[in-house]
Symmetry: C3
Subunit: 178 residues, 3 copies
Amino acid sequence: MGFTLQQLSDLEEIKILKHRYFRAIDTADWGLLDAMFTDDVFVEYLGGNYRVELHGAANMREFLANSFVAETMAMHHGHMPEISFTGPDEAEGIWYLEDIFIHFGRKDHTYGTAIYRDVYRREEGVWKMARTVYDRVMEVVMPLQEGANYTVHRLAETGRKPHEVKDISHLITWDNLA
Amino acid sequence: MGFTLQQLSDLEEIKILKHRYFRAIDTADWGLLDAMFTDDVFVEYLGGNYRVELHGAANMREFLANSFVAETMAMHHGHMPEISFTGPDEAEGIWYLEDIFIHFGRKDHTYGTAIYRDVYRREEGVWKMARTVYDRVMEVVMPLQEGANYTVHRLAETGRKPHEVKDISHLITWDNLA
Amino acid sequence: MGFTLQQLSDLEEIKILKHRYFRAIDTADWGLLDAMFTDDVFVEYLGGNYRVELHGAANMREFLANSFVAETMAMHHGHMPEISFTGPDEAEGIWYLEDIFIHFGRKDHTYGTAIYRDVYRREEGVWKMARTVYDRVMEVVMPLQEGANYTVHRLAETGRKPHEVKDISHLITWDNLA
């Protein structure tokens, strides 16, 4: 019963993996993503008016680098992990996301929450994400807040500029239901 | 000095208990609450214009199922636990809550924070909440945000509909001080 | 490879140190800060229109007690730690902050995020902060929200009143760039 020392150490490594992931995307620090995904990673995100589905670490990196761009401002905080082991080198994790995503091009401000369901796999001693799927709990889309002064905007410096952004429309489907 | 292996394992189990609780309430996934409270659990919440006080797991489940209802949208994130052991099968925990609670019936949007003080007890190998009390640090009540588009609303599907909601006025006191 | 039992116990103690710090400042519970900083602690915060730089536990306590005052309302939540050991009694930590700071005197509401880079040192068996530095990821400054009703405001009771606040202008530089 309970967790072994090895599992407690693994839990800490898995949490750090996920923590570093969120820090990487919100700051566009793409080097941090090295060795973070298995080659065959599966990704699916279900939002209010979008659905992302992609396979493979290269597509994931391309999706992220073209989403967290200079004309956006982002906070993605993964909270309250519920991690369990399905083998010595495999684990599942549930996380509860809170996020803010401000898009200056679209002039909108989205905030909300989602439940992540991940699978982690240890490859050559390193825990990686093999599957990461989220489904929204709540999502609110607003116009930019009146009177808001955006006094620090890290992605404006570190994210891809409009002329650098590549087409990722094969990875995301937009339903203009809103 | 420091924590033993058993205690570190217990800490992880207690954290998962609390994490699962927050996920359960915001998604109205009531089956997750099974075996989460001791039969004699004591609950007290002090908000800006409400006071909840109740005893017993059955009342707690009834309170929750009639609060997280279809006409509400909720985020309850418990952060930064400070857990200490008072015996092999008993522990105390402090958590720092951030929450959003939108009530479409009342047309208001509340957000704030609170400090939880919990007691956990292990019964037949399972950690449960024996006491959970919170006191607000800050609370802001606003009208619904202008221009807000509620694009995902999980509780609308999973929470009790108006005709299913039961009277819980014996468990909560409202002071219309605001 | 991985963490030892001693390190896992130390990780928990370091996390509790940081968690207690955030609870202390938002509630102005200054007694909680005892033994939390090394005497030679170095602090630097880079915000959109401020820069804090200070040395020493006494200055840090003075800075905090005169910042988290009765005319402010605050939420500081440190998330997603990435902690690593640089010796048996020294560790480094990265945390991802989400904060809200409402100043009723200035009639403004600031929210944002930042990345902390800390150094921890164990002195006579107690982990303390030896260095804590943050750099903003995003920061938004707004007027007070229209229609907002501040229904709980703990710092109004526990924070220093205007006539008790001391001058800390030697510890903080304001650039009125906004």
